[in-house]
């Protein structure tokens, strides 16, 4: 299914009781959590809560995002941080401005290894019952039966305009980007999709439709624009999947290629290097 989810309002915080090793069952991922770490209650309007909420948002999009539904956030009500953030928030489907009810999520940041993506668990009361199946089927059939492959570019354009026929592909790009943004997030990032430079439908032999996207992500914390190439597949039954993703380290804001970049990871660290927050 496809919807793009944004967190609208975080409702309340669950205070985590300190974790004691003896009582803990062996749960995958819990090996990273230090024993007896006290819970820090977070101010809902401060950035740790906001950033954790954004991660939960991306997680939800990867599970439930769609060319016909894109959810948005409005505000954190309460949050608590151990190594993980526990959040409660209201969810909204942005393309229809539809309230989706209450969700609760746990976002676990791997402080020991920032390159490990955050782990998220999330449940929502209303579930993601956005009925998009008719539109999805319609779009799918139109694309399957078309005689030429679809492409588009500059979405949104400089003045924020999106052609109505391009909107589902904008949402699709956003949902696919969430896979990357989820993986790339840590406590020092806040990622959004900034722009779709272009997308092209690719030939496929199977039921999935395939698209190549050139997108720009924006990290609010470093303010950097990050260029990514994505190969993704979509069908109403198969959902959205990212098959390949490649980061282009060439600095968008530079006249020429970034001179000191040798590897993708080195460049990433260089870009983030001076912005290590206290």
């Amino acid at each position: 299914a496809h919807t793009v989810l944004y967190i609208t309002g975080l409702q309340f915080v669950l205070k985590l009781t300190p974790h004691t090793p003896a009582a803990s069952p062996s749960v995958p991922g819990q090996e990273d959590i230090q024993a007896a770490m006290p819970v820090e209650e977070l101010d809902p309007s401060h950035y740790p809560a906001t950033r954790a909420a954004k991660v939960a948002e991306h997680f939800i999009n990867t599970r439930y995002g769609s060319p016909f539904a894109w959810f948005g956030s409005s505000g954190v009500k309460k949050a608590g941080l151990e190594v993980r953030a526990k959040l409660h928030f209201t969810l909204k489907e942005m393309t229809r401005n539809q309230d989706m009810g209450l969700c609760s999520a746990e976002v676990l940041f791997h402080r020991a290894d920032e390159r490990k993506p955050p782990q998220v668990q999330c449940t929502c009361s209303g579930a993601f019952q956005v009925n998009t199946s008719a539109e999805e089927e319609d779009l799918y059939q139109r694309l399957r039966n078309a005689t030429s492959l679809l492409s588009g570019s500059d979405i949104p354009n400089s003045v924020g305009h999106i052609d109505p026929e391009m909107a589902p592909f904008w949402h699709l790009g956003g949902v696919a980007s969430s896979f990357i943004m989820l993986r790339e997030s840590n406590e020092s990032t806040l990622l959004n999709m900034a722009h779709i430079d272009n997308f092209t439908q690719m030939e496929t032999k199977d039921a999935q439709l395939m698209f190549q996207y050139d997108i720009l992500l924006h990290d609010m914390v470093s303010q950097e624009i990050l260029k990514w190439k994505l190969l993704l597949s979509w069908s109403p039954d198969g959902g959205v999947k990212v098959l390949e993703a490649e980061w282009d380290p060439k600095c968008r804001s530079c006249e020429r290629a970034h001179l000191t970049v040798t590897t993708g990871i080195a460049a990433e660290q260089e870009m983030k290097g001076d912005n290590n927050n206290v």
Partner: protein, 419 residues
């Protein structure tokens, strides 16, 4: 050539009242000299044919305008002689009408006064500068333009001064567009300028403020960057000053101020978006404001406007030490945000920069606050990441209007609480 012929046709149509309805222009490709000879004989058929490109040589196209009543005959002639042609213009009159429409439209895009200015759309730097000049001309007793300096590339740094008189009255400063890609801010700034002149004398609250205080508004605070977002890179943020020893251009003007300069939350790498510059106030765009503020000496509020995130922020960004006036700043922020939200329900967060958004050193309002300008605030306007910097034009007016309510709250409080 075709343009000249079209112009002539327009001229004739306008002044000769001739109509070209249904006329077509055919492009003919003669394959040999024999066909060229045939084509040269067309005028003798007295079908009203007008050569736009005379028949000369088989390798060159022959363009003819054919009146509607002769079309059938001409096409039969060509086809029966096996002469290839295509219809280049299906209806000459349509083309003339369309070009006339375009010409009128092009003139209409240039507003002749600020009432005709399209506030619900994004504009170029020149359009904004023209707007500024028109506003001054239309309101000579309220508005003047001060050029506080020049950008790196030599563009004037224009500041609008709204004043009802007095001498060095306490002032309120508002700037938009310091980060050039944040287009909704310059667009809102333009609207604020018009709002001020409209409301003075009509809105009691704004009138009361202007009777005691001056307002300074810099709409395009980073004009080089703004021009670059139009011409080359919509996502450009920084200034456009080259950096010695690097191929990367530009300094982040909101990390270049002398407040915690060089600290965490700013970068020493010229290729990054938060590069602080070689030294504090190295950027002429920043230095101009620094000089203005210090020369004025009597500013009581300073508001620097950015996008996006939907936040109202007060100092500090460079340190976790709370500002001395944090209680008051926080209460005022709360009121301002409530007023903003009251219009369309847009939700904002508020708090100090360092706790609410991120650590940022060398920032504008940290410097202005430490200069003694107590009511120093930064806005982050719509949205929260859905469109980001590429906010649709249809959100300009709602954004400007709701933000104005928050600005009024800050200005009213400043006016009511002299210090």
């Amino acid at each position: 050539m075709r343009a000249l012929l079209v112009f002539t046709a327009v001229f004739v149509a306008v002044f000769g009242q001739e109509t070209f309805e249904g006329h077509q222009v055919l492009r003919i490709t003669a394959k040999d000299d024999a066909q060229i000879t045939l084509l040269r004989g067309l005028p003798e058929l007295e079908l009203g044919i007008d050569f736009w490109m005379e028949p000369t040589h088989p390798s060159l196209p022959v363009d003819i305008r054919v009146p509607s009543q002769s079309l059938k005959e001409v096409k039969m002639f060509l086809e029966s002689n096996d002469i290839q042609y295509t219809v280049m213009i299906h209806d000459v009159q349509n083309l003339l009408d369309e070009e006339k429409r375009q010409m009128l439209k092009a003139r209409a895009v240039q507003p002749r006064n600020t009432d005709d200015f399209d506030f619900a759309n994004y504009h170029t730097l020149n359009e904004i500068y023209d707007f500024i000049d028109m506003l001054v001309v239309e309101n000579p007793h309220l508005v003047s333009k001060i050029v506080i300096g020049q950008s790196y590339e030599g563009r004037p740094l224009n500041v609008l001064k709204f004043s009802t008189g007095g001498s060095n009255r306490p002032g309120i400063w508002i700037d938009t567009g310091i980060h050039s890609r944040e287009w909704v801010t310059q667009a809102s700034g333009t609207w604020f300028a018009k709002k001020i002149v409209t409301d003075y004398g009509n809105d009691p609250a704004l009138t009361a403020i202007l009777d005691k205080m001056d307002i300074f508004l810099e709409i395009a605070t980073n004009p080089d960057g703004f021009a670059f977002t139009h011409s080359q890179n919509r996502m450009w943020r920084k200034t456009r000053k080259p950096n010695s020893g690097s191929s990367c251009v530009g300094v982040d003007p909101n990390r270049n101020w002398d407040a915690g300069f060089g600290g965490g939350g700013s970068s020493g790498n010229p290729c990054t978006e938060t590069y602080r510059g070689p030294k504090a106030h190295s950027e002429p765009e920043v230095k101009a404001i620094v000089d203005f503020v210090q020369a004025h000496g009597n500013l009581k509020a300073f508001v620097s406007i950015h996008s996006y995130s939907q936040m109202l922020l007060y100092p500090y960004g460079y340190t976790r030490t709370p500002a001395k006036d944090e209680r008051e700043l926080d209460e005022l922020a709360k009121k301002a945000v409530n007023d903003l939200t009251s219009l369309y329900g847009t939700r904002y967060k508020y708090g100090s920069i360092i706790t609410t958004i991120y650590q940022a050193s060398g920032g504008t309002i940290d410097w202005t606050y430490d200069q003694g300008i107590k009511y120093s605030y930064t806005f982050e306007l719509r949205d929260t990441g859905f469109y980001g910097f590429l906010l649709p034009a249809n959100q300009i007016l709602p954004t400007a209007k709701e933000t104005w309510l928050a600005l009024m709250a800050i200005m009213e409080h400043t006016n009511a609480n002299p210090y």
